[in-house]
């Protein structure tokens, strides 16, 4: 459901729709193209990129956010980590649980290696799962590997590494065959001929599809096969750092348990395949991202720290139209097909501003231009965007086209109350990922011995621009190649003594360059933007603390009684059990969970444990045990409302003293000043006196 302001705007768009249907907006001339790009494309505007200051790629340009992580501090404390205790000893360790990781694990096992797969999230929960595109393979008679090669090179701006492109197009048909043998179903004619479509930048119809869900079809089959083959999987276990041995080769990894955030386990592995995915969740220049939430460039950071070469880090790709409303779908890319079917753009005035079939980068720049010039629409969250007019497709090609051609997208929008056959979609460019990455050879080997890589973490296959339907192909081809090469290499490798000397050298290098203040990386958990503000994930503080033993958690100071004395007195004077309110005053005061915004000075964290100590301590309940039968619950609220009627409290304050969540300072105050018996004072008087006279003392106490 669009909010009313946007609904109004839709009304205006509908008026101009007929005009836009007929209008042929002129294509940009070459001169206009470069001017538009230079002024508005995020890769060209100032302030997004800078030089990397340390490491093997020193001097190369990279996005600010990525450069900062690449120059980051190691999360591992070198003084406390014990490299003698190895938890897992395997031949091949695969890091990453997407299509590339699963393919690498399967192929490594086929080649006789003992494999362990570790992933940051759930195994299956990956970018692949969300992928709705297709997979290219030149298998039709009118197609050839050469044409596929040429299309890919042209798409990447001829900066692709030829060997890698050749490897990809050469393996493509056999990858399709392999997927079919695992049980993947592709869209086919009844006689078995593949149904293939045209895709972004293809000159032949060679994109194989599976009912717009190719990603999940491939991923669930690969995942099932990994389980069937008995390959052990560690979930919620991202790697923090790669380990090397004294011969200078990669020899394992340090993993952390993301659930407890403190269990660290060491994996000694003869070879490692990095398949950790992309970096879209770094949100370069604050753009929303099409990537999965795990894509935080962890693999790049770890590889960089052991000295692997990276390339093409300045080639960041943006998807021209990501969703910005409904909020649940922010960043999700709208298929290029929408434009090919005839949907055109419209700004706030209902006018076109660019020819709808221009290449991605030009459309990206044009949309940003419209937004900067004030022709944008605003969502309730404050994001800007323009309309992509999908109902035009229905008018142009007849009703039912969208449901037939884009069923998954249609259903997704329907879930959030938006019918894209009748209402347009609000879009803004979305960060795709950095096309660059680790430099690999045609077998997936990096520049560091024993370290292999595959998938989005690598660079070079796609040059400066990734064609959408080559992504999954790249992941599977190089996943399989890297897995095989890693397994064969593991058979010949003998590891030396494990060491983290390279991390020590790295930290020294940072010190020399005066970069100690850089954040800790890998990042593991993405920041997320809310209300136009970027929220920083607080994760590093958490696990750094767990790893460093000497840093102790500062104890939460008990509340200062002077601050709360007036209100505490009021609470203690009322004839209801004070325990709950005393608890709320404890710790850092009330927290948002309690929804008591009225009292300004109190903010806090202590919640009722439901232990029932207050109920057991209450003398009113003790005198009449029948009250207990009213309920079985044992929270302070029950004591206050169900067990005791109004004005029934004895004001003995035992409940406050019994509560484990109330601060010591409050308890001391209650005992010293509020408990009628003034026990501590009596205690001291009784021990002082030779012949204690209790009645006299009580009288004295009451008169105080």
């Amino acid at each position: 459901m669009y909010p009313s302001e946007l609904k109004e705007s839709i009304g205006r768009i509908e008026i101009t729709r007929e005009k836009r249907l007929k209008e042929d907006y002129p294509r940009l001339t070459e001169k206009d193209q470069s001017a538009l790009m230079r002024q508005y494309h995020p890769n060209f505007v100032d302030g997004g990129m800078r030089k990397i200051l340390v490491g093997p790629n020193k001097g190369d340009h990279a996005p600010d956010e990525l450069a900062e992580l690449l120059e980051g501090n190691s999360p591992v404390d070198l003084d406390t980590v014990d490299l003698e205790v190895v938890n897992y000893d395997v031949d091949v360790l695969v890091l990453g649980g997407g299509a590339d990781g699963a393919a690498a694990a399967l192929s490594a096992q086929e080649n006789g290696a003992k494999v362990l797969l570790a992933t940051k999230l759930r195994f299956i929960d990956s970018d692949t799962m969300e992928f709705q595109g297709g997979i290219q393979a030149a298998d039709k008679p009118n197609d050839s590997l050469a044409i596929h090669y040429l299309d890919t090179m042209g798409g990447g701006g001829f900066e692709n590494i030829p060997d890698l492109v050749e490897g990809m197009v050469r393996d493509a048909p056999s990858i399709i065959q392999w997927l079919e043998s695992l049980g993947c179903t592709f869209d086919k004619e009844p006689d078995g001929t593949m149904h293939t479509e045209a895709g972004e930048g293809t000159s032949r119809k060679r994109v194989h599809t599976a009912r717009h869900r190719l990603g999940s079809e491939v991923m669930r089959n690969l995942c099932d096969e990994v389980y069937n083959r008995g390959i052990p999987v560690l979930e919620h276990s991202p790697a923090l750092e790669l380990m090397m041995d004294d011969k200078g080769q990669v020899a394992g990894a340090i993993l952390i348990n993301l659930e407890t955030k403190k269990e660290v386990s060491l994996v000694r592995a003869k070879t490692i395949v990095l398949a950790t995915g992309g970096d879209g969740q770094l949100h370069y220049q604050g753009f929303p991202s099409t990537d999965h939430c795990g894509a935080t460039a962890d693999g790049l950071v770890m590889a960089y720290r052991v000295g692997a070469n990276l390339l093409l880090l300045d080639a960041v790709q943006y998807h021209p139209h990501g969703v910005i409303y409904p909020e649940q779908m922010i960043g999700q890319p709208i298929d290029e097909k929408v434009r090919r079917l005839g949907a055109k753009f419209a700004n706030v005035k209902g006018e076109q501003f660019i020819y709808h079939l221009e290449p991605q980068d030009l459309v990206t720049s044009a949309i940003i231009r419209e937004c900067e010039n004030g022709y944008a629409l605003k969502t309730p969250k404050g994001l800007q965007g323009i309309w992509l007019d999908t109902p035009m497709i229905e008018q142009l090609r007849g009703p039912g086209t969208i449901q037939r051609e884009l069923p998954v997208m249609y259903n997704e929008f329907i879930t959030f109350g938006v019918d894209i056959t009748k209402e347009p979609i609000l879009v803004y460019p979305s960060l795709y990922h950095c096309n660059g990455g680790i430099k690999i050879d045609a077998q997936g080997a990096t520049s560091i011995p024993n370290l292999y890589a595959a998938g989005k973490v690598c660079g070079g296959v796609h040059g400066r621009h990734t064609l959408r339907d080559n992504i999954l192909l790249d992941a599977l081809v190089y996943g399989r190649r890297a897995g095989k090469a890693a397994a064969l290499r593991a058979g010949k490798t003998k590891l030396g003594k494990l060491t983290l000397e390279h991390v020590r050298r790295w930290q020294d290098g940072l010190k020399k360059a005066r970069l100690e203040k850089r954040p800790i990386s890998p990042k593991l958990v993405p920041d997320y933007a809310e209300h136009g503000k970027l929220m920083r994930a607080d994760w590093h503080r958490l696990y750094r603390f767990e790893l460093r033993k000497e840093e102790k958690q500062p104890r939460i100071q008990p509340v200062d009684i002077k601050e709360i004395e007036p209100i505490l007195n009021k609470i203690l004077e009322s004839k209801t059990p004070p325990v709950a309110r005393a608890r709320l005053l404890s710790g850092r005061g009330l927290s948002v969970d309690h929804k008591l915004d009225v009292m300004e000075n109190i903010i806090g964290t202590k919640t009722c444990l439901g232990c029932g100590n207050c109920i057991d301590a209450c003398p009113v309940v003790g005198r009449e045990p029948g009250r207990r039968k009213r309920t079985e619950e044992r929270s302070s609220m029950v004591l206050e409302t169900i067990l005791l009627g109004p004005e029934e409290c004895d004001r003995c304050n035992s409940c406050v003293l019994a509560c484990p969540q109330v601060d010591v300072s409050i308890k001391q105050y209650v005992v010293n000043w509020r408990v009628v018996e003034v026990m501590p004072w009596l205690d001291s008087r009784i021990s002082e006196a030779k012949e204690p006279d209790l009645y006299l003392f009580v009288e004295e106490a009451l008169s105080k």
């Binding site: 299956i124 298998d139 039709k140 040429l150 079919e180 669930r220 089959n221």
Partner: protein
Amino acid sequence: MVVESAKILEKKTIYNLEELTPSGEQVLHLYPDLVKCQGCNTCTMSCSQDLKVIDYMSSVLYGKIAEVADKSFGCMMCSLCADRCPAGLAPYHIALLCRRLYGRYLVPRSQHLVNRVAEIKEGKFDAELSELKKMKESELRRRYSERDIER
């Protein structure tokens, strides 16, 4: 740290796809608990993707593998159906087995794909590819802009 896959495997049967036959008996053999389905429809109600789970489960009982593969295609393996099933079944694993049997054994093979893989093995494209790889960028650019595009 425990190897966690064990937890997921509680309701999944391990099998070797290459040794199976695509039949209803095969599915029943791997998942004998199938017959315990009470038809309560909790699975359909809980499906995050709005699939008619009970519908494809009855197709499983009839042994209609192709039908199951078709009806369950939108499954995202979220496991909600299995978590809620009072009979302790795992419909999503059963459907995955059916889809894999269907994809491997029942779908007609693509002759053009088989031919192309054979051609690549014979080295039919080697010369052309190595020529392209050595080509200068200007020549590549010319070829790219002049290539004919299939409509």
